[in-house]
Symmetry: none
Subunit: 399 residues, 2 copies
């Protein structure tokens, strides 16, 4: 049976910082360590020596997670129970406020040949300015009776679409065929109630193709990840904490917003993130501090850049420690080994530090050392209860 | 919530080898290691040094498993969800192809005294030849209207029985009282539908006792483990792999067959097993390589023989590695410590090796070293998802 943590939550005035180095995890080769093992991280090593270490699996053994489920798990939300579609994540990341009944969709500007077959699913990754003009045109001209259309440009070929109106449903199959040389797929309604939405999609597609017929590369929008508004219980509801998100990228701001965090904007560099943390230290109980570059470097297969991204974070650790958090957790949301240039299933190092955390024998922060730590190897969702307890925010269970 | 792995399975052309040293696990004494710790295993140690290690618990903490559940767990099947009765396992091991509606039963040739009380549950472990004659006699003479009877001799006192016919049910209690000095138990129907089968069992027992009245020690057949045909989803269905079983003993061939493996026969020695593996390397994605002698030696309480059995397997490791599997897993199905001369609940060493597996600090294969490995200590059923991920056979979860 699963335990309802909320029955134990008690108030406290303690401060928690959760530092997430995106894509932190990696794996060692026979004669060489992982990125984190090879990085020079004197400050993180000191925290590891003074605190407790371990490994987490974001979703489960062997599961390679996307950013959505892995962050939710670190925030203490079961990532299998709380599933988020790509459309919802995009809307969240773009700050589009979905309402009940809305259908959110991920879109790609793409190229069709004369026979209507996809030749490029990303329209040559067209420049933002050009894509933005296409999105503007479609926003002004596409008109479907009874449906309000929100079309937002993300970056390059990526767009985000919301259908708003009565009787819409997200239970449709994608029109993006995820392949070239074939035409876009027909949107199939998975339920009778979704049939009207399928018609809306067909009409949207008809108008888009007519409007973009002469565009050299962006002459269709491929749709995937139909999703609806979904309300997650907030961290305040679940844990009694007022939480803030210090993330530069919209996607991670959005993930924080999904669980009720207040997004603290204004930072565009790691140094500025620390500045905002210092400025707003008194205003919140829980700070989600997100550091993206480790993941980006891993995705690029750039071992040295990932090492550098980790070292950059290490350098700001003393500033965070100087704020005297009651609990400081440092981990990644998932592994992005540069050998794979992609997210992976490998376990992710964790360190937990604070006056009530305790200490084990681990004196360096890295996969092979964390494997021997007292936190053990556990699902990511189990970390939040330990963080809350270490912050004095969970009462005794039973007499 | 539990995760449905099959939604993530993706095709790949990678090769997986799962080497199972039956009964591998043991436990150390104050001044002496376990069998594996004391064995000289330079090849397994090298794999441990290059890969990741850990411990698995086959079914759960403190649970001593039989071969059925422990193998199923290693194949990724929840051993509590997929329960196999002794009758089904015996039939499987003997290559008896059960059909829907069949009832399979384990039987012991046993000895009753004049008052009908069991004096020896194994009829003095009578020789195979003598037992085989008894089984032949019963096969020819026992006749029950509407029921086809299959009676197969296994070894010594052990027989296997199948009732085939309309309206039969396995929901009966055993007639084997599991004790001496008492008469065989009456078969109780657990459901109304099983009442006819209970009558069949009573009639079978009546005829058997009449036919064997003059036999000096085998004058009854005690029945236990009534079970029916059950179809397990195949490994191909669940994981998209074509799987082969390289096992010498019928029981383990049968376990492979239960999950849809093709049994590759022809090998009677470890060396021949390696030969078949080499010959059929291109024909399958997944190879289950079973090595029995470690368990047999453990069951005999023979520490030195178990060490030797482990060392024999170590010697063929280079031949397996030379095939360049993408993932090589070496473990046991359960512990069989020679101090106990029986299966036990102790955790079992695991090592995982391959280019995407990574590496931890463990440099020797053995219980005490594996306890510090990055695979951690986990249920056996969690290993298969990691094996599949390491072979590139699982897609990303969530965006």
């Amino acid at each position: 049976m699963t335990f309802d943590l909320s029955t134990l939550v008690q108030p406290a005035s303690t401060k928690i910082v959760m530092v997430i180095l995106d894509g932190l995890g990696g794996f060692a080769r026979p004669n060489w360590g992982s990125e984190l093992e090879e990085a020079h991280t004197p400050n993180l090593d000191r925290l590891a020596a003074e605190g407790c270490s371990g490994l987490h699996e974001p979703v489960g053994p062997g599961i390679t997670p996307g950013s959505g489920p892995s962050h939710l798990a670190l925030f203490g939300y079961d990532p299998v129970e709380f599933q988020l579609g790509r459309g919802l994540l995009s809307a969240t990341g773009l700050g589009v406020d979905l309402k009940p009944g809305d259908v959110a969709i991920r879109g790609n500007l793409a190229t069709l040949d004369r026979e209507g077959r996809v030749t490029d699913r990303r329209a040559g990754r067209l420049p933002d300015e050009e894509a933005s003009e296409v999105v503007d045109l479609l926003s002004r001209k596409v008109s479907i009776p009874g449906v309000e259309l929100l079309l937002v440009h993300e970056a390059q070929h990526r767009v985000m679409l919301v259908f708003r109106g009565a009787d819409l449903s997200p239970h449709l199959s994608d029109t993006d065929p995820q392949a070239v040389g074939v035409p876009p797929s027909f949107p199939m309604a998975h339920t009778r109630y979704a049939e009207r939405t399928a018609e809306v999609v067909v009409e949207f597609d008809r108008q888009v193709r007519a409007l973009l017929a002469d565009h050299p590369r962006a002459n269709v929008v491929l749709l995937r990840g139909f999703d609806s508004h979904r309300e997650l219980p907030s961290m305040h509801e679940r844990y009694g904490v007022s939480a803030a998100a210090l993330a530069i990228y919209p996607m991670y701001q959005g993930l924080g917003r999904l669980v009720g965090m207040q997004v603290l904007g204004g930072a565009h560099t790691l140094g500025e993130q620390v500045g905002v943390l210092q400025d707003r230290w008194n205003d919140f109980d829980f700070f989600f501090f997100h550091h993206k570059p480790a993941d980006s470097a891993g995705e690029d297969g750039d071992f040295a850049a990932k090492v550098a991204a980790i070292q950059a974070l290490d350098e700001v650790v003393p500033d965070i420690v100087a704020l005297q958090p009651d609990v400081l957790l440092v981990t990644g949301d998932h592994a992005t080994p540069s050998q794979l240039a992609a997210h992976s299933w490998h376990p992710v190092p964790v360190l937990l530090w604070g006056p009530k955390v305790g200490r084990d024998d681990v004196v360096r922060f890295g996969e092979r050392w964390c494997a021997k730590g007292s936190l053990g190897r556990r699902p990511a969702k189990e970390l939040m209860p330990i963080v809350l307890a270490s912050a004095g925010r969970l009462a005794k269970y039973g007499a």
